[in-house]
Every structure is written in C-alpha cells, then in structure tokens.
Symmetry: C2
Subunit: 338 residues, 2 copies
C-alpha cells in the first residue's frame, strides 16, 4: 500500500477527535499528517501516534502537497476549501452535507457502494449519520429482496449536534433534576427529559433537512429509483451517543424473519442482536464506542405483505461520521484513487 | 344529573392520584366516594374535595352499594374484583388490559366511540395509553378519509410504568451524571440517556404486548376490519411524562396537509400545534399536565400516494389513563348507564 500525505480538517471537533482515534485503529498508512481547524481553535496541541502536533489554521496553502483530506468542519468550510484541495491534486473526503447530492460527487459508505469511489473528481461525500447506519443494514437486504417502500422513525442522540449539544444535555438535565430553569441554545427546546421532532432546518414540504437527507441519500447510495417511496420522521432524544431507528420496509420479494436475519448475519459492518426471549436487543448506550450497526427486533412487518420491521442502533460519531470517513480514506489510499 | 356512589380502586398509584385530581376538575357528581388499595397501601390518608379520607383495603364487600368503580390497580386486581362489582350491580371502568379485547366488554375513548358504552355488561375498558391519544387524532381522520394502513413508532415516557419507574429514571440519571454504576429494576436496561425497544413482554410473533395493544385496540375502537394492516414499534425513552408518536397513515381517499389539519382543528380533544416556521410543534415536556392530544409536524407522507405523517404528543397519565377513566365515569353517570 502506498503512503499518503494526510490532513484532518476540523481536527478539534467531536467528529475530528474520533477521526484521530480511528486513523490509528485502522492503521491508515501515511507519510505526513497535519491537523487543521478554524482560526479560533488553531494552536490547540494534540497527540497522534505518539507525537505531539499543533493544530494549524486552515488556509488554501495548507493543502499544498496533501493527498487526502479528511474533512469534518461543516458545510461552509468544505465549500470554501474543496476547490482549493482539488486544484492542488488532493482528494477531500467530506463529512458535511455540502456536496452529497452533487451529481459529480460519489456518496459512499465503505462496504456498501465502494464501487462508486472510482468516479470521484476530487470530492467524495460521507453520508449523513442517520443514513449511514441504515444503509449498512439495508444494502444487503435490497440486494436479496429488493426494497419497494421504506418508512423510518429515528431516535437521534445529541452528539450529532456537536460538543455544545452534548454539554447542553448534561447541563439541562442537571437543571431539571434540581428544578432550575434552563435556557436552551443548542436546541430549539430544552432537551432534558424531552423529545424534539426537529433536526436541522425545515424544508418547504414540511420535512426537516435531516429527514430529507435520509430520503435522498438512501436513493443515491442504493441506486434506487427516484420515485421509490421513502419517508422519515427524525426526532432528537435525550441520549448522548448512538442513533436508533425504527425501520419498516416493504420488499418486492417474499421475506421471513429467518431469511432477513440470515442476510443480516452475513452483512458487512452489521451485528444481529436479537433474542427477545432473553431481552437481547440493541440500545444506544451499549452501541456507543463500537463499530458495528446493531440490528434487533427483527420481525414480519404487520403493515405489508412482504414487509420486515427492525430496530437498528449505531454509534453516530463512528459509523455515522468518523469511522466511515477513515474507512473511505483507507480505500482511496489502498486503491490509489488519489 | 344523578349522583352515584363512587369507588376509586388503586387510589394510591400514579394514575389513581390523577383520577382524584380529575374527578374534581370535571366536577363528577357523587353521593359517596371511597378509596381502595392493596393491603400494603391501605391506611394511607388522602385529601379529596376538602375532606380527609383513609384508603381502605379492597375486599369484595368494599363494593356493596357502589355504583361506579374507577379502577387502576393492575390486571390481576381487576380480574379479581370485576365479577364482585358486577355481581353487586356496579359498573367498573377498568384501566388495566384484563378485559380490553373481551368481546363482551366495550373498549371506549370518550369523544371517540361513546356509542359503544351502551352495550356494557358491567365492565367498561379504558384503552392502553399509547392507543388512546392516537385514537383521538385518528377517529376523525378515519371518518373523513378512511384509514387503509397505519404505521406507528412510539417514544413513551417512563410514567407509563408507574411511580417506581419515575423514580428509577431520576436515580439512574443522577448515577450516570456522576459516573456511578446503576442496577436497573423497573426496566430491563438502564433507562438513563437510553432508548429501550421493549415495553411489556414479548408475544410469539416478535412484537411486544404494548405494540400488539396498539394494533388490536385500534381496530376494536375504530371498528376497522380485522385484516386492516397496522403495525407498531414501541420504545421507552428517558422522558418522565407524555408519550410521543410518529404516525404514518395511508387513506382510501385523497388527503392534503390542509384537509387533514382542518379535520384535526375541529376534532374533540385534539389541539393542532403546527407552525414549523416558528419552531412550533408538540414536545412531551410541554404536554405534561395538560388534557389535549397535541398534533404537529402534519405533512404529506412520502411513502404513500394518499398518506399523511404527523407527530402526536399527550400526557399519558391523563388522556392515556386517568382523564379518560373519569370522562367515561361521567358519561356513565350522565347517561344513567349504571
């Protein structure tokens, strides 16, 4: 495997920190690595692979000689720097939503649609966290039984909204337990002991951006027909890490609990956790810090002739963001796609 | 209106306490009232309507001369005493699941299917909390557009599992914030900052009892065809009071956001809270202690041609249990159905 010159953009954020960890875990080979951030966080010291680094402010020249950029710094930062990276011959693997639906940008989940990587023109997009975990479970099922209709309701952790949101859940919960008033700022409502049916802004059709990401990204990643009916309700719940999803899916072909379980047991990145007799099913606190997408509560869906329902849980900071970013970087390096 | 002799069975429980409050709020007329409980809680003093009462242990003779019993003491207690109450000429309005699917027992939500009350033979069942709030929203929509298919994912508060569960959420959250270990007992997993996809025990088909209650009770209450496709995923979330439900429903007739909103605005017991431009939508903390079923996030369902999705939230202790029990008692008294 060749060794690349790497840069991590947004190194001090909650996803950035996980990217550092996972770069080591997956032993991604590198010649050089640099850590970039906004002006505000520049100067932060961090340790990587036994050496200390100082985080630098990202400017266009930061990307001179860089082969692969792992970016998790928000949409506007990605839009600003992606052309600079591409101009300099580098590849950006972008965690933001800036380029996901761009026809010229492959939207890839490692182990799901790796083949799409080859068509990249310098920018590779990492799907939204709630889409990613779903795709790892649905891609093998789509291959086996062909998805006809999909209904998803999410139970999303606050870490998807960053470090500030994690802190807000902690502080607002303490305030609530002490009967003190709390003024929310990371969320539109106080998240303590609450559920908020809004993630991201609202679109004209009454859906949130988060919900439409699941709808659109699923179709792009699984190469489904544009008119295939998919809907989603995205809800923020008072959980620190891991998103959960209640999934009802109708297939073209007949399915049983057994046939679906068999496919999922052999699926890349998926772990079936499903023994209701012994209260075995996935929950967010047990998925946090782990790599697999945990799938349980697999059962015939009572709403469709050929339908299956299941509950899937994964660490949104890992599979939903950092883990897939690093997996994609590794694939790009291994396959010499830079 | 005639005045009846009342008894509250399970007066010291979390629902029982709300029944007391609401009996006053709705000014239910009574000649006499008594408060009954298990042996364990007997002797508790409580105040009602400006007078102090001592809770008595429930025995068959407790029901001598009682016209209407508001029961919220669990299935086995209801099974034990219902025949004793009926034998003595009384009517029991039962909050437990013991008789709900009994063909001879009407399952009624006040304002939804009051007409079914007339057929009672001494026992009237109050639906499960997650069904009740849903029915208040769906009954008028079924009347207007005819339900064809229904998919529900719930976000249920711990208070549905009683006082012990409320306390467990408090204590386990404190433990989690202090990085201390906590051994759950009210739930199968630690509920602190977690979601648990199990409410009640599992049935043979892989669904929980709670999920099958929504499926079966909905059909019974709305007089739907036994084969109408309905499915449900029921999830416990770390919320103290109020259940939330993400609802996707397909209708026989064409629907729009506007036509559905119009019907819901005129529906009994429903309040439309839906102005996404101004972040107005229902959340559990804001519904707690209130009577209406709050419905928001109303939008065309992207999974069905004639489909609507919405998010509905209600205080499970009130509309899901105590409020409907008292409303039914009032109807029985007003209509002389005892």
């Amino acid at each position: 495997m060749t060794k690349a010159n790497l840069a991590v953009l947004g190194a001090t954020g909650v996803v950035g920190r996980h990217i550092l960890e996972i770069l080591k875990e997956l032993e991604v080979p590198y010649n050089s690595i640099k850590f970039l951030s906004s002006k505000k966080s520049a100067g932060t010291k961090l340790e990587f692979d036994g050496k200390e680094y100082t985080v630098e402010e990202a400017v266009p020249e930061s990307f001179d000689g860089v082969n692969v950029v792992l970016a998790s710094a928000g949409g506007s930062t990605s839009k600003l720097f992606a052309p600079e990276i591409v101009k300099r011959g580098g590849v950006i693997i972008d965690n933001s939503s800036a380029f996901r639906m761009d026809k010229d940008v492959p939207l890839v989940i490692a182990g799901v649609n790796d083949g799409d990587l080859k068509s990249h023109k310098g920018i590779i997009a990492n799907p939204n966290c709630s889409t990613s975990q779903l795709m790892l479970a649905l891609e093998p099922l789509n291959k086996a039984f062909k998805i006809k209709r999909l209904i998803v309701s999410t139970y999303q952790s606050v870490s998807g909204a960053g470090l500030k949101a994690i802190n807000e859940l902690k502080e607002s919960t303490k305030a609530s337990l002490n009967d003190e008033k709390f003024e929310p700022s990371a969320f539109k409502k106080d998240i303590a002991f609450n559920c908020i049916p809004q993630i991201d802004i609202f679109c004209d059709n009454g859906y949130t951006n988060e919900e439409m990401k699941v709808v659109r990204e699923t179709k792009k990643i699984l190469h489904l027909d544009e008119n295939l009916p998919i809907t989603c309700t995205a809800v923020r719940v008072p959980v620190f890490v891991s998103h959960s999803e209640a999934v009802d899916v109708e297939f073209e072909l007949p399915v049983t609990k057994e046939s679906v379980t068999e496919v999922l047991k052999n699926a890349y990145g998926v772990e079936v956790v499903d023994d209701t007799d012994n209260y075995v099913y996935p929950v967010p606190t047990e998925a946090a810090g782990k790599d697999p997408v945990y799938v349980g509560r697999i059962r015939k869906c009572l709403a469709f002739e050929n339908g299956i329902s299941f509950f899937c849980v994964a660490d949104n900071l890992r599979i939903g963001a950092a883990l897939n970013t690093v997996r994609l970087a590794k694939l790009v390096i291994e396959q010499g796609l830079y």
